[in-house]
């Protein structure tokens, strides 16, 4: 094991996950005289488990550092997977007394992790087999019913620092899996055919006159025919089917010239073989099918990788929920999540996943919305606040009231938006499609003309040239140029927390010259927060805050809630009595002193003096005073997002002009704009004025992108060339925007701009390449300089160039 220690002996980084180790008190693990240092007890526990199970090889095999394990508290919740109702969703019985389940495994960073998880699962007593697929992030486990439990299998993954989820294969998923396998089979059949047909073809190319007897030549032709037939009938079948379907729908697709070329070459070769005279093109035919099926398989894999984040999103919503029999009460039934209705009360235990959207009914909760926003830090929620389905309960058990289920939830909405964007064709894609339609007509005409011309010049080459023209000029690259780039860009943007609802939005984002931001909820966090406590008496600021929080406890007022949030609930002093004065503040007795919390006017009656001067600032000031005088000023306001300044700067660095447009007070707006380095700021803007403002920018020729909360800004969002909504604050189902910033992190916006610009550049490159290619090869093929074989290679290569270029968008 010495080599293990050497390999990872870099100081100050965690032996397991590679994150920095805390300066003091880092967990350590002595082994064979060497020390492993860890960043957290979680990593230590995982590493101890790996060593204890004799799986230390993992550290030598892995090619990337592991992920930091989740909070071990999750483990207690795994028992849920043993419940029969839950099991009925993902466990199948392939044989008598056997259970089998498909799982999603998260947190695997390299193939060695898959090996580790596989072994850890296989070692659970009662487990018969475990297979972990690193490429897809899935596992299939089979165990003997009664000897092992599902929770133990999930627990084994947790031991390795990964997290497993049940995978419920949808019907669509199974169909896709089958399609992918069929594509691979077609490709491999074509590859085999191509190789062997070449064996028969090459001798006829290199043999001198008379070296091959007519009998031998005939034999090789027949052999070629036997091998080419399955390639045409099986591997190339989708081309013929697509061409036929498009023809029936009244369209001319790219598969039409391909099919015609293949059919013509094969028919001519067949006739030549049967009659024993004329040329055969079996080698060209198989080579062509080989290249095109290969290109399509690669393309398919690239797209699948792009769409995987979407799939995972769907799989993570739990299939079951604990519905309360009555509320208040704590007796809960486990029901299928699909049975939930709005208004149901649901119990969510620690570590469980929230089954639907709703509002919190318990006094408080901590949830992690990592799934939605990528931000894994838990967020505190207060009664009545929104809890999103798919987020994980990172604190104590809580009760929530369901408000949205099924298709109305945030998660489903996001998924639908993305699916729609992928399905809907952007204008540029539609244009390319129509252009290739015209191009197909042109190719057919050119091929016919070539056949006619050559039949007069040299009739023996007429077919050959026509086939070359058909194949080499196939506008596959042209028709692939934009869609491939578009779908990779959609996937890459989703990974950057930007979900695009309209495919054309990518081009618009890339072309935006001016960005108009709303203030509240966009550049600021959109909720009241305590910013500063200014002590004006002898009481220290922290105690001032504790007193104020105690007084305002239970109060629904946003200011009181902002104060309460800044203070842990268990550290509050005792309040003897409290009286709430509507619109003014709260009067109460704390520690034997009579106190007032509220506006200056209200507190002055108690303090019997003028309030001391404090520096003016954004937001409102709430005073705390006693009969002995003024105690403190609490400044409460809507905080500017910490990343806003950097985001604005990077937009400006990208040559974009940034505007701030808000319905708020002009002075406040101007101050926020100054702080963020925005020159153009307009306050007190009504929705109509906002719209007029954007319109005036557009009249000057600007391409305007509007960033808002997505609901109050609907008119101006519609007016802008492209609109982006913040995903965190709003009810997503109502959002009318071209794109949603799911993470609420403005930093992702700048990344999205860069990405969409790159995507646009790639689309242009692809189109330019495809057009240049066709312009170049058509005259060559027409004049008989391209053999059908070379045509097949050139055409496939040009398609692959386009796909490979698109996959650069990451």
């Amino acid at each position: 094991m010495q080599s293990v220690i050497r390999a990872d002996s870099v100081p100050e980084s965690c032996f397991h996950c590679g994150l920095p180790v805390p300066a003091s008190g880092a967990p350590r693990f002595e082994l064979d005289g060497a020390t492993r240092v860890f960043c957290c007890p979680g990593c230590e526990a995982v590493s101890r488990f790996i060593h204890g199970a004799g799986l230390d090889d993992f550290y030598e095999l892995r090619s990337a550092k592991s992920e930091r394990p989740d909070d071990p508290a999750v483990r207690d919740t795994l028992r849920l997977y043993d419940e029969p109702l839950m099991q009925s969703r993902f466990v199948t019985a392939p044989a008598e007394g056997r259970c089998e389940a498909d799982l999603i495994v998260e947190g695997m960073t390299c193939a060695a992790c898959a090996w580790l998880v596989e072994h850890a699962m296989a070692r659970v007593p009662g487990v018969e087999s475990a297979h972990v697929n690193f490429s897809t992030g899935r596992a299939r486990v089979r165990w003997r019913a009664g000897e092992a439990r599902a929770s133990e299998v999930f627990s084994a993954a947790l031991d390795c620092g990964c997290r497993a989820w049940p995978f419920e294969a949808g019907r669509l998923e199974l169909v896709r899996e089958g399609e992918r396998k069929a594509m691979l089979r077609r490709f491999l059949v074509a590859a085999l055919g191509m190789m062997q047909v070449m064996m028969y073809a090459v001798p006829t190319y290199i043999a001198r006159e008379g070296e091959i007897t007519p009998d031998e030549a005939s034999l090789m032709r027949w052999a070629g025919l036997v091998l080419t037939t399955p390639v045409i009938a099986y591997s190339a079948a989708p081309f013929f089917r697509n061409a036929w379907n498009e023809l029936r729908a009244g369209r001319l697709g790219v598969d039409l010239p391909v099919s015609l070329g293949l059919a013509a070459a094969f028919a001519a070769s067949l006739a030549a073989t049967l009659s024993g005279t004329g040329a055969v093109y079996f080698d060209s035919v198989t080579m062509f099918v080989f290249f095109v099926t290969g290109a399509r398989y690669l393309e398919r894999r690239g797209l699948e990788r792009a769409g995987r984040s979407l799939q995972r999103m769907a799989a993570l919503v739990p299939a079951s929920a604990r519905r309360l029999r009555e509320f208040p009460g704590d007796e809960a039934d486990l029901v299928a999540a699909a049975e939930l209705r709005a208004g149901d009360r649901v119990l969510v235990r620690a570590g469980e996943t929230v089954p639907a959207d709703g509002v919190l009914a318990s006094p408080g909760a901590t949830v992690s919305e990592a799934l939605l926003s990528g931000e894994s830090r838990p967020i505190a929620r207060r009664p009545g606040e929104r809890v999103v389905g798919g987020s994980i309960n990172a604190g104590d058990a809580f009760i929530m009231r369901v408000t949205q289920v099924g298709a109305d939830t945030v998660l489903s909405t996001l998924r639908r938006m993305m699916e729609r964007a992928i399905a809907a064709r952007a204008p540029s894609v539609e244009l390319a499609r129509r252009a290739s339609g015209f191009f197909v007509v042109f190719i057919l005409a050119a091929a016919a003309a070539a056949a006619l011309a050559w039949s007069m010049i040299d009739a023996s080459r007429a077919l050959w040239v026509a086939v070359s023209v058909l194949i080499v000029t196939c506008p596959c690259a042209l028709s692939l140029a934009t869609p491939v780039a578009m779908s990779t860009a959609l996937g890459a943007l989703a990974r950057r927390n930007v979900v695009v609802a309209r495919a054309g939005a990518i081009a618009s984002l890339a072309g935006a010259s001016e960005f108009v931001f709303d203030k509240t909820g966009t550049l600021t966090e959109g909720r009241m927060k305590l910013q500063r406590v200014v002590e004006v008496g002898r009481v220290p600021a922290s105690y001032c805050l504790a007193i104020a929080a105690a007084m305002g406890r239970e109060s629904p007022h946003p200011v009181d809630r902002a104060i309460g949030e800044a203070m842990p609930r268990d550290a509050l002093p005792e309040v003897s009595w409290r009286v709430r004065h509507a619109g003014l503040g709260i009067e109460a007795e704390v520690d034997g002193r009579r106190l007032r919390l509220g506006n200056a006017e209200f507190c002055r009656y108690l303090a019997q003096s003028e309030p001391p001067p404090i520096a003016e600032a954004d937001g409102s000031v709430t005073w705390l005073a006693s009969t002995e005088g003024w105690i403190a000023a609490l400044r409460i306001g809507d905080r500017v997002r910490p990343e806003a300044r950097e985001a604005v700067r990077s937009l400006q660095a990208a040559g974009i002009k940034v505007h701030l447009l808000s319905g708020d007070d002009s002075a406040v707006v101007a101050m926020v704009a100054r702080g963020l380095g925005i020159d153009e700021a307009h306050g007190a803007a009504t929705p109509a004025r906002k719209q007029a403002y954007v319109q005036s920018l557009q009249l000057r020729g600007a391409k305007v992108a509007m960033v808002g909360d997505g609901i109050n800004d609907a008119p101006v969002l519609a007016q802008a060339d492209v609109s982006v909504a913040m995903g965190g604050g709003a009810d997503l189902a109502k959002v009318r925007a071209d794109a949603v910033l799911v993470s609420d992190d403005l930093g992702d916006l700048a990344g999205a701009i860069a990405l969409s610009r790159k995507a646009r550049a790639v689309m242009h490159e692809n189109l330019a390449w495809a057009v240049a290619y066709n312009v170049l090869v058509l005259p060559l093929a027409f004049t008989g300089h391209v053999t059908p074989l070379a045509a097949a290679i050139a055409m496939s290569a040009s398609s692959l160039v386009v796909v490979a270029n698109a996959l650069r968008i990451r």
């Binding site: 204890g52 199970a53 004799g54 090889d57 095999l61 390299c110 193939a111 060695a112 898959a114 090996w115 596989e118 072994h119 296989a122 070692r123 007593p125 487990v127 972990v132 697929n133 690193f134 490429s135 897809t136 396998k181 691979l184 089979r185 491999l188 059949v189 085999l192 055919g193 062997q196 064996m199 028969y200 007897t213 031998e216 034999l219 090789m220 052999a223 036997v226 091998l227 399955p230």
Partner: protein
């Protein structure tokens, strides 16, 4: 070159045999994961799965 009349049909039979083998390999999921098995084969782990030692 009479041998060709034996060898070429033989090569056809061989090609179809390989084709069938590939077909079953795809069906059996041999191409599902192209990264994981590369690691598991070099792992020094000859003992059969069982309870942790």
């Amino acid at each position: 070159m009479d041998i060709l009349f034996l060898l070429i049909p033989l090569s056809l039979v061989l090609a179809f045999a390989i084709g069938a083998a590939v077909w079953f390999a795809v069906e059996a999921g041999q191409f599902d994961d192209l990264e994981g098995p590369a690691v598991s084969v070099i792992a020094d782990d000859d003992d059969p799965p069982g309870p942790p030692r």
